[in-house]
Every structure is written in C-alpha cells, then in structure tokens.
C-alpha cells in the first residue's frame, strides 16, 4: 500500500556544489523554475473542465507564471485531470517520459488518487504514483479552480525550497515503476524513450535503476540508439 498523505518518493537531491557562485546560480534557476511553469494538461477526465476558468480571466494562472503548453517537450508540469484507464495510462507514461526534467506531475481529482468513482472498474488504473512519480495530488470531485491553483502554489513552494525532486525518483528507481507498468501492460511493454540511457547520460542512475524488470525489458527491447551522424564511405 502506498501512502498518500506524504507521497513516497525516495529521490536524493542533487549534490550541493561547493562553489558559492554555483550555489547562487542554482538558487536563481530554482526560483525561475518555480516562477515559470509550463503545463501540459492531459485531459483524461472531467477535471479538465476546471482548467479553463483557472487559466482565463476569473482566476488567471498567468499571473503566477503558469501557462499552457502544447507538446510534452515544452512542458514542465503534467496535469492528469481525471481517471486514467489502463489504455490511457500507457499514453500518459509515454507523454511523461517525453517531457524534459525537471518535470512534475500533478494528479487532479479523486480518480487519480484511488480510482475515485471508478474504483471498481477493471479498466481504470487506481493509484497514479505507482506508475509515475506524482508531486502533488489535488483531491476533489472535481476540485475547484481555487484548489487547482492552491495545488500549483504548493508545487511552487516545493520547487523554490528545493524539494521538487520527484522526477529524479523515476530515474533512480526506474525498476520499481517499470515493474508496476509491466504488471499492468504485460512483459512486452516498452516506450520509445530510452529512460535507462537517459539516466546514464545525466548521471542519475542508482542501483535501484536496474533490476529484474529492466532485465525483462532488455530482452525484447527495440533498439533506441539514435542514428549517429557518420561519415562512412
């Protein structure tokens, strides 16, 4: 059973650099990250209807530096706004993996917390943070725009205080997340994003990145090596 009250992510924060200037720079970047959040709303369910008022003149998210973006590449926050069916979950995971770190996940509505009113459905995934590292849940059916904005502000505070490291957990404990995904989707599950390669490239791997599930993945994985630019006669 996963605990919701305090979402269990085991990410280690990045090493503090000793150079005082670098520290200042890091804090500046963190501050800017908290003040400029591009969100990608994955409108899976009814919660999406609360976002337009949150963005438009009544509540105006842009004054907090939050604005909608279109593709996962550009976005920082993935808003999952409602129940996630197993089929949709695959696409949510694909979308999450295509986002660029630091990236945050906000689960809106009770459905993402525990299945909500779909708790009995065989086709709906129940606890989102088993498959993705969720930063903030906004419970409610549906949460009002104020609640959504409050959730955003919580996330802003977390980032500003240097606590928004849930995304690192995905790289650091990839085996755990992959295991849960394989449990639902079967052993031949694979996304086009090379998470292990990315973890290696950016030095985010730990022992828990690898495990039995990544071994299963490696057995059937389609190659994800990019086409290298080469001069070969």
């Amino acid at each position: 059973m996963s605990k919701i009250g305090n979402i269990p992510v085991n990410a280690q924060a990045g090493k503090k650099r000793t150079n005082p200037l670098a520290g200042v720079f890091d804090e500046l970047v963190q501050f800017c990250q908290s003040r400029s959040m591009f969100m990608l709303h994955y409108c899976t369910g009814c919660g999406a209807i609360e976002l337009p008022p949150a963005m438009t003149s009544r509540f105006d998210m842009e004054r907090l530096g939050i604005q909608p973006m279109v593709t996962p590449r550009q976005a920082d926050i993935l808003l999952v706004t409602g129940y996630v069916s197993v089929k949709t979950l695959k696409r949510v995971i694909l979308t999450y993996e295509q986002m660029q770190s630091p990236k945050y996940v906000i689960g809106i509505c009770s459905c993402t917390v525990n299945g909500g009113m779909y708790w009995q459905s065989y086709a709906t995934a129940k606890v989102l943070n088993e498959y993705l590292p969720v930063d903030v849940y906004i419970a409610g059916c549906m949460p009002r725009p104020e609640a959504v904005i409050e959730g955003m502000r919580r996330l802003m505070r977390n980032i500003e205080e240097g606590k928004g490291h849930a995304w690192k957990d995905y790289f650091q404990r990839y085996d755990y997340y992959l295991g849960n995904q394989q449990h639902l989707f079967g052993d031949d599950w694979q996304t086009p994003t090379d998470i292990i390669g990315e973890a290696r490239h950016y030095g985010l791997e730990t022992e828990q990145t690898y495990g039995e599930h990544t071994r299963i993945l490696e057995q059937h994985q389609q190659p994800l090596e990019p086409h290298k630019m080469r001069i070969k006669f």
């Binding site: 590449r73 086009p192 090379d194 490239h201 994800l224 990019p226 086409h227 630019m229 080469r230 070969k232």
Partner: protein, 651 residues
C-alpha cells in the same frame, strides 16, 4: 600560334583521343588531365580577365568573300573559364565510383560515349565562344546544339529520348531563326564581321533592328529556355545521365546568353534597342526583353515548386535562374549587367554542386523521387552540407555568392526605378527559397526510411569536386571582387561601363555592399549564438527518431511519420489553379497543327498524280531561279519583305 590556337587544337586533339580510347578504363584519367590542361591554357590567357586585348586565332577561313576567324575576348574568356572548370569538376566527379557503377549498370561503351559527349560539348562551346563573326558563331552554335543532343540521347529511357527529340526540334527552330537573322543581317549590312556590322547598325531603321533582335532573341532565347520557349529544357537536362546533367545544367544553356550579349548588347547596343518603341504601349524593346527575363524568373521557378523529383526541380530552377541573368543584362547600367554576367558564374558553381549532390544521393539510394527519400542527413552529412551551401547560394541568401549577383540586380532595378521588375525578381527569389527548402527537406531531413539505414556517404571521388565547388561558392561569396574583376573586363569588352568594385563588393554613395563585413558580422553572430547555445544550457541527449511527439501515439517503422507529399498544400490551394499549362497547350496546338498539315500534304500527294507534282515543283524551282537572276544579288530577296513590314508598322 597564339594561346587560343593551342587551346582549340589541344581540345580538338583531346576529343579525338578520348573518342579513340573511350572503351578503356583510362578514359576517366585522360579526361581529367585534358580539362586540367585546358584550364591551365585558360589561365595563361588570364590577362583577358583583367582587361587584356583580345587574342586571335591564326586559323581563318574565307567563305563567300567573308573572312571567318576566331578570337577570345574578355567575355569569351569568362564563359570559357566557367565551361572548362565545370567540365574539370564534372570529369573528376564521374571518374571514380560513379564510373564503375555506370559501367556495371550500362556498359563500358556507354560510359565512353558519355565522356566523348562531354569533351565534344566542351570543344563545341569553346569554338562558339571563340567565334569572331556571325558565320563562325553559327557554326559554333550548330556544333553546340548537336553535341548537347548527343549527350541527352545517351539515356535510353523513353522519357529521356522523347525529351531529347523535343530539344532537337526546338534547337532546329532556333537555328533556322538565327540563320534567317544572319542572312538578313548580311543583306542589310553587307557583312558578317562584328565590327563592320556595328558600324552599319547606325544606318539601320528601327524596324529592321526590331526584326533582327526578335529573330536573334528567339533563336538564342530557345537555347536559354526563356519564356515562352522554356518547355524543352527541364526534362532534357534532368534525364541526362548524372554528370551530364551537372555539366549541361550548369553551363550549356548559358551559351544562349553569351550569344545574346554579343549580338544585342555588343553589336546592336542596348541604347539602340531601348530606342525602339513598341507602338500603343509604354514599352520599348529593352523593356520587353527585361520582362521576358522577369517572367522567366517567375514561371519556371513556380513550376519547379511543384516538382516531385529532385533532378526536375533543379532543372526547372536552371531555367528560372536564366531569367535573372537576362534581366540583369537588360537593365543596361553597369551594376545590373555586372549582376547578370556574374550570375552566370555563381549559378554555374551552385547548380553544378546541387546536381552533383542529387546525383550522389541517387548513386547511393537509386532514386531522386521525393516520396522515396528523407532523413539522409545522418547517413550523408557532407553531401548534405554541400546541398545546404548550394541552396543558400541558389536562394540568394548571404554569405554565398548567389546573393551578390542578385543584390546587384536588385540594386540596379532600385536605382533604375523599376518597381514591377523588382517585385517580379523578388517573387522569383521567394519561390526559390520555398522550393529549395522542399528539396533539402525531402531528401535529407525528416524521418530516415528503414531501407536507407545502411546508406553510406558519397564516395570521395564524388565528394571532392562537390567540396571544391562549395569552397568556390563560399569564397566568391565573401570576396566577390575576384569575380567582379573578370565581370568588369567582360563589361568593358561588350562596351558597357565596367562596374567599380573592390574585393568585398561595391561601394556606392547611396548604400553599397561589402561582403567581407557582412560575412564577418554573420559569423560573429553565429559565434554568439553558439556560445549562448553550448555554454548557457545544460547538455542534451541525442534520441532515436521514433522518440517523437505524436500526440501520445507509439511510433514504429511500419507507419511513416514524415511530411513530404504535397508539401506546400496551403499555397497550392490558392495558386494551384493558376497553373493552367498555357504554354504546354500552346506547344501541343503547334504540334497538332504541323501534324495536321503534314497529314494533309501526305494525303494530297497520295491522291494526286506524283508526276504532276514533280512537274509543278520543277516549274516553281525554275521560276525561282530565273527570277533571282533578274534581281540584284545582295539585297534582292530580303529587302521587299522588310519594306513590307516597315510599311505595315506605324512609326
């Protein structure tokens, strides 16, 4: 023996040698050496490029009391240099791996014939460029036509053969037009020598000049592929085997421009042409020619935009770029003419490089069809670089050389106060930008196809000439003064005030151009951009092409995720309906008319008694001979015709 004799004799002997050894493998090496030596001989004449006196050939002929002679002046030298250097690059390009593959696919004989065709083309062009009077010009002209035809006829493909036949029909029409013009010139001036005609031109009436300019213009214009004679060129050049297309596309059609400059600019002089007012319009003859140039930049360029085959796209651009040269020359001031003549050089360099790049892609993948290519940049990065540099040249964007010549043309149009021509030229340039992006995107960018994952870079023998051309494109873009020297000499030779220039461009009180500064600042900008990009951001990771945004869809190699078909759909919604194939229909109508007439005469012949017909023909011939005896020999046949026209046209 002058250097020109050496050059012509050497090339002629080399042609014989290449034809003799065409079945041996060494023909490639031989041809490279031949063109290299020819280049050396041209370099020996390089005084011409800086305003030297014309060099005469010691070989002359006396026909009908006319002295046929050959000579090189600065303009000929400029064109000859381009011809021989492009031939040199082409011969290197076709000497190595390409030759092997071509011999395997066709035969050694076919390859030898290609080499022979190339050298004959070079020889005939040199003869044409060296011509010193109208008759030798015509001889050269015919040689060039048939040499081109030989090159085109090498491809045994049905489409190619058809295109070649079409070309030769057009070329014959051009030859007839020119021959008629020469005959009329002779009857009007009594001479075929340039200098004597030049003196006699002053005494000719406007109508006579107009008639001559029209006839010469039609003849030379057909070779250049100007509107409305643009239909033959693209297919004929595109279907020629790879290196042949490189050479032909780069320079062959420019022979028409050379002849036009010699006749219209040098002999008739543009001020004289400009004095001919077209009745009931605000235009004069010079405007008409300039507008032909402007339309030639627009229409073929937008036909190129619609092509779905890289070779055809380039060949159509070749037709379109000819329009800039004609337009530039027809502006008649020193800047515009310089732009037009310089564009011949610039165009030859990047068009050759582009055709080479496309041929290299065809060499590796076997196709130039846009629907079957894509994503080759990772496999053939150097060829991609060649293509990018060349398309920047073709589109006329700094810092490549195409920009300089187009800038000169624009500048001249601006100073001349020709808004519509200026807009026409810009519309042509914008269309070029659109279609060259289509070219580079659909071959090199986008998704790499599964079957092209093991494609290799073009072999060195093909890459080296491409890279050499890239150096020239960039080098003469940064330092246009090098070429402008030769252009100024050429301008001097045809009697136009030479352009004042320096190494970096031209200096003018009302806004000049200094490419050294422009390039410097651009590279400074790129340096700043690179610093911002590489040092201010974190490191990035290269990813597989299937790790791509597709609205949450999982991409596989089974489904193509690539946009190349119907590339400018939105624009075509609007302008698609404007492609009415007007000229094609006109051409078809002509063809139908001729075939109808021939059918008619054939039927007439079949139904009538042949004996009666023979008798009739014999009678007409007899009458013609008799009547021509009774008239004075020199002006008798032509003068009534011209007078008739003169009477018909209000002055």
């Amino acid at each position: 023996m002058s250097v020109l004799d050496d050059l012509l004799l050497f090339t002629a002997l080399a042609s014989v040698a290449i034809i003799v050894v065409r079945r041996f493998a060494s023909v490639s090496k031989l041809s490279v050496i031949v063109y290299a030596l020819a280049t050396v001989l041209l370099v020996k004449m390089s005084a011409l490029g800086y305003g030297g006196e014309p060099i005469y050939s010691s070989f002359t002929l006396n026909v009908l009391g006319q002295n046929l002679y050959w000579r090189f002046d600065s303009l000929s030298w400029f064109f000859a240099l381009i011809t021989v250097v492009i031939a040199l690059f082409t011969s290197v390009f076709m000497s190595g791996a390409w030759a092997e593959k071509y011999c395997q696919e066709h035969s050694t004989e076919a390859y030898g014939l290609l080499q022979a065709a190339l050298v004959l083309n070079v020889l005939s062009m040199l003869v044409l460029l060296a011509s010193g009077d109208l008759l030798s010009l015509f001889i050269g002209w015919e040689l060039v036509s048939w040499a081109s035809f030989m090159m085109m006829f090498l491809n045994q493909d049905k489409v190619a053969r058809k295109a070649a036949i079409k070309y030769i029909v057009y070329a014959m029409a051009a030859a007839m037009s020119i021959l008629m013009a020469i005959a009329m010139t002779y009857s009007m001036t009594g001479s075929l020598d340039y200098v004597q005609i030049m003196q006699a031109v002053a005494h000719l009436s406007n109508t006579q000049i107009a008639l001559l300019v029209t006839l010469y213009g039609v003849g030379f214009g057909i070779k250049m592929g100007v509107i409305p004679f643009h239909l033959w060129q693209a297919a004929a050049y595109a279907e020629t085997p790879g290196p042949g297309a490189v050479f032909m596309g780069a320079i062959s059609a420019r022979m028409g421009l050379y002849a036009l400059i010699v006749i219209v600019v040098q002999i008739f002089s543009l001020t004289r042409v400009a004095a001919i007012e077209i009745p009931y319009t605000f235009l004069n003859m010079q405007n008409i020619l300039a507008w032909v140039g402007a339309l030639t930049t627009i229409i073929p360029t937008y036909i190129a935009l619609k092509q779905n085959d890289a070779r055809y796209l380039l060949a159509w651009h070749g037709v379109g770029q000819g329009g800039y040269m004609l337009l530039g020359v027809m502006i008649a001031d020193s800047i515009g003419t310089a732009g037009g003549i310089m564009h011949v050089f610039n165009y030859a360099t990047y068009q050759a490089a582009l055709f080479m790049a496309v041929t290299a892609v065809m060499f590796r993948t076997g196709t130039s069809n846009f629907s079957k290519l894509g994503g080759l940049v990772t496999q053939m990065p150097l060829t991609f670089m060649v293509m990018v540099v060349s398309i920047i040249g073709l589109a006329g964007i700094p810092p490549m050389n195409g920009f300089v010549s187009k800038w000169l043309v624009y500048r001249a149009l601006l100073l001349d106060g020709e808004p519509l021509l200026f807009v026409a030229a810009v519309i042509g340039t914008l269309g070029t930008i659109l279609s060259v992006y289509k070219l580079v995107h659909n071959t090199f960018l986008g998704q790499l196809r599964l079957e092209h994952q093991d494609v290799k870079e073009a072999p060195l023998s093909m890459l080296l000439p491409m890279l050499g051309l890239v150096l020239i494109i960039f080098g003469t873009g940064v330092m246009p003064g090098v070429v402008l020297d030769w252009v100024a000499a050429a301008q001097n030779a045809v009697g136009i005030a030479p352009i004042t220039h320096n190494l970096g461009g031209i200096e003018l009180a009302q806004g000049g151009l200094d490419m050294i500064w422009v390039t410097g600042v651009m590279f400074y900008g790129f340096a700043v951009g690179a610093i911002v990009f590489y040092f201010l951001g974190g490191k990035s990771k290269h990813i597989h092409q299937f790790d791509n945004y597709a609205g949450g869809h999982f991409l596989t190699s089974k489904v193509r995720y690539h946009y190349s078909n119907h590339f400018y759909a939105g624009l075509m919604h609007l302008i698609g309906g404007w492609y009415k194939d007007f000229f094609k229909k006109l051409e078809q109508a002509l063809v139908s008319l001729v075939s109808f007439l021939s059918q008619l005469s054939e039927n007439f012949y079949r139904s009538a008694q042949p004996a009666v017909l023979v008798a009739a023909v014999a009678f007409i011939a007899l009458w013609f001979i008799m009547s021509s005896f009774s008239m004075p020999a020199d002006t008798g046949t032509v003068a009534p015709i011209t007078q008739g026209i003169q009477g018909g046209l209000p002055k």
